[in-house]
Symmetry: C2
Subunit: 278 residues, 2 copies
């Protein structure tokens, strides 16, 4: 289930700068009941990323029509396409000499549907097990926050473990600050205050992460964005990770430290579900 620049095909030219240099961006979006969840926010982030990388912003209307076309013609797939994962990749397209982008660019849009990962509901209800990754994130203010295609750090970190009893790896930067999970953002609460890492030098600014900020402001929960280390994280009352597909997963165990699934995490899960329906 793939559209490349609106055409049904599953390949791109080798010359595409997405392959040559990771010169592009992506979004991973939950589809529930046949509708992309938080699509407006995903398209806004995609637009922001394009502006930061100076890639011409693809028309949201184009992308919207292509998503509808994909979802409408997905009857023949064997998996349940009304609840699935939608991925959008935008690259700078082909051309240019070496690193230098061509003067006139025609970006590539790749829109695809994928079966939902088969995460048990217990992850959401009773929490997950997590570990600390050995792989350290680099520091790069230029690219921090952007969901771009240069993702070797995450690939290497995620390859650190293959046991099924660990669901996420928590990544530190080279200064030993906690930054994020390999595929998620991280929050913890302590004495009723929410904490999450600053993403000024590393990390991806997640859609659900931003929504947790929105919910915290709306419900008068203090939220504090700062640099913190392993020890501070391990002294938390509650920890949870977020992304667009998992929503909010509490961490019940991080390395050898056990955490309770607290009321703040559960409340945020309820509020996030309500936001999805708004």
């Amino acid at each position: 289930m793939l559209l490349v620049n609106g055409e049904a095909k599953d390949y791109i030219p080798v010359t595409d700068r997405g392959l040559q240099y990771g010169d592009g961006l992506f979004e991973t979006i939950e589809v529930r009941g046949g509708k992309p969840v938080f699509l407006k926010q995903h398209l806004a982030r995609l637009q922001q990323g394009c502006l930061r990388l100076h890639i011409p912003v693809p028309s949201a209307q184009h992308i919207g029509c292509e998503i509808v076309a994909l979802l409408e013609h997905s009857d023949h797939v064997t998996w349940q396409s009304s609840d699935c994962v939608l991925k959008i990749i935008v690259t700078r397209g082909s051309g240019g000499r070496g690193y230098r982008p061509p003067d006139s660019v025609e970006p590539t849009r790749i829109i695809s549907l994928h079966p939902s990962p088969d995460y048990p509901s217990s992850y959401q209800l009773h929490g997950i097990n997590a570990r600390f990754c050995q792989t350290r994130l680099g520091l790069n203010p230029l690219l921090a926050g952007i969901k771009h295609l240069n993702r070797l750090e995450q690939v290497i970190a995620r390859a650190e473990w293959s046991t099924l009893d660990i669901q996420e790896g928590i990544m530190l930067d080279i200064n030993n600050h906690i930054i994020e999970g390999t595929m998620s953002n991280i929050f913890f609460s302590k004495d009723g205050i929410l904490h999450t890492p600053v993403l000024s030098h590393s990390g991806i600014s997640g859609i659900v992460r931003n929504l947790v900020f929105t919910l915290a402001y709306r419900h008068h929960i203090t939220i504090c964005e700062h640099f913190f280390d392993k020890e501070m994280l391990l002294s938390a009352d509650e920890i949870f990770v977020t992304n667009s597909i998992i929503g909010i997963w509490p961490i019940k165990q991080l390395e050898t430290t056990v955490f309770r699934i607290g009321s703040l995490t559960q409340q945020l899960q309820v509020w996030l579900d309500q936001l999805k329906k708004e």
Copy 2:
């Protein structure tokens, strides 16, 4: 002129991890008189990169045969294929769930020939003009030195200028240390001693950079690898940049500071040409 896993085609599946995550490596090799120059060194670096990224090392024999096949069947191209550029890309291939690499990987090999860039010989003989880039390189010991496909920093830096009178941009890291050019490594000489940046936290460890070390040792020239800033670079006697396609280009002007094309740079150019023939 392209071979993908030995087959003549010019596209790859969208699922390739080279596109999805920049999960791969590349080499850019000079072809002179129908022969790839320093091929052994390029294949060794490719192998080192694969080992560092845990990508199965493609057989050098396979790649060698494919290069020969490409060069032998390039008669119909309009450009001069006996003197051209050979590019090798190796990606981790398709598959895996999210960032997690698949348990069993079949890497993708992409081998292609390109016309040589039309650099005037004056660049080599009389030097080039260079500027300092605004774009700062991040710090990432995990990936430093590797010629991987995560190259957004270089793309953004190279997009800073389009005037034809500037041939290279010199990049600093976020600590304001000089690291490299957008497409080259950098050296300077001061009082007969060669200096070049440490690449422990950023930068690509170039083949010609390594050969300059070899030549310096062979000819008893002191070479010093360390962190230095703009001011130190601008106080140099001679500056030059290196890569596999350009060889050694002296810098005759960096921003407003003018440099002479000194005897050390010229001597290294001669020795490098001799190495090519060995």
